[in-house]
Symmetry: C2
DNA sequence: CCTACCGATCGGTAGG
DNA sequence: CCTACCGATCGGTAGG
């Protein structure tokens, strides 16, 4: 007769949960997604348990299944979010005017800032895409959109004599993207260096690195 | 009485295993490590199962425990290997002579080549260090050695007027390392571009990116 | 009938 | 190295 014992437990007084009672559905769902992002970030998707996610929200593990069908639904939602925000950012930045270098500066800067300000989500995105089934993975992989943007700008810069012709556009775009994406590997929210300075260093090295002598004239001078 | 059923299975005739019988211990151990590297690379450490590793070697899951005490021993051995090979590489390259740029070129080139030629091991190293307990992780993290080498070279280059003074040495070293390490994210063993070309692109952009006007004179001309 | 969960336990599999 | 298992915990689901 374990029920009596259990009933004692379920009636436990003065636990921390009473505050969390009766949240509206959408708000609870956002709390769950946030907790999932944190746990996936800290442990990785496979090692993360629904138990820990539920603990952080203050509900029971089983209750999560009111919102999802399987564990991977959580990952799916998070990655979709990052994907959509990323695509929106590209759209926004590609409308900018100015030189090729101005555009590259703006695109990389917003990308870097997004990554640093959404570190957990971005890390999960870059680390756990492979945990998704191939179809979802392909549709959420935004590498192509980014790369195509860069690719076009690099070719334009080469045509204008601003970017070294000996660089292969595809390989260069790939290298650039990999570079920015590597930020999540070492950036930590409260480092000695602010986000601006990181972006400045990154963009300085990148733009000078690909610029011809003619192109260098458009960039800040050395000292 | 499930035992009889099990015995029938274990006595199965004409399975593929007979070829694998009675390998000397050290050789088997290397086979296990190799299989572990592959499975960790494909699935990630947490999602990898000892069953799959055993299957690839052609032994039973339980038999792996003749060689290890826990699953993490496999990870530990693999990461130690990568760590030691990396440290040895640094030692070798730091004895080189030439300009600061020559040394940076040699260091990055050997690092890039190692990463591309040991893709599975390197990926596991960069992805799964966090799965180790903090003490082992710290002792196997070779980031510091690498960064200190780069740091010294960058400062030397700045003192000689070859590298931009406005770049923060630590942040630049960190950025450079992150860049090379990001290679594993997209490099695949049989790509369109050979390893040499990748290294060339990478080093061109990096060295031109940090060089002063005076420094640029030491690098291959643009075109 | 619904929303928003809880208490308890399922089948299956992990490392050991 | 194999056979024969265990302790525990996983993701997921039942009824209320």
């Amino acid at each position: 007769m374990p029920k009596t014992t259990k009933k004692m437990e379920s009636g436990r007084p003065s636990d921390g949960r009473s505050v969390n009672d009766r949240k509206p559905k959408e708000k609870r769902w956002q709390e769950i997604l946030k907790a999932a992002a944190e746990v996936f970030y800290e442990k990785g998707y496979d090692a993360a348990t629904l138990q820990e996610i539920a603990d952080r929200v203050g509900i029971l593990k089983g209750s999560i299944y009111y919102y999802i069908k399987t564990k991977s639904d959580l990952l799916d939602h998070l990655l979709t979010e990052v994907h959509n925000e990323g695509v929106a950012m590209i759209r926004k930045r590609s409308e900018l005017t100015g030189t090729v270098f101005d555009k590259l500066d703006a695109m990389f800067r917003s990308h870097i800032e997004y990554m640093c300000r959404n570190q957990a989500k971005t890390t999960v995105y870059l680390h756990e895409l492979k945990a998704l089934d191939p179809k979802r993975r392909e549709s959420l992989f935004r590498g192509h959109e980014f790369r195509d943007e860069f690719l076009a700008l690099i070719k334009k810069g080469q045509a204008e004599g601003l970017i070294l012709e000996r660089l292969d556009p595809k390989l260069t775009a790939q290298t650039m993207m990999g570079w920015t994406n590597s930020l999540y590997q070492w950036y930590r929210p409260q480092p000695r260096k602010p986000v601006d300075q990181i972006a400045d260093h990154f963009i300085t090295i990148m733009l000078r690195g690909i610029a011809t002598e003619k192109g260098l004239a458009l960039l800040p001078t050395d000292r």
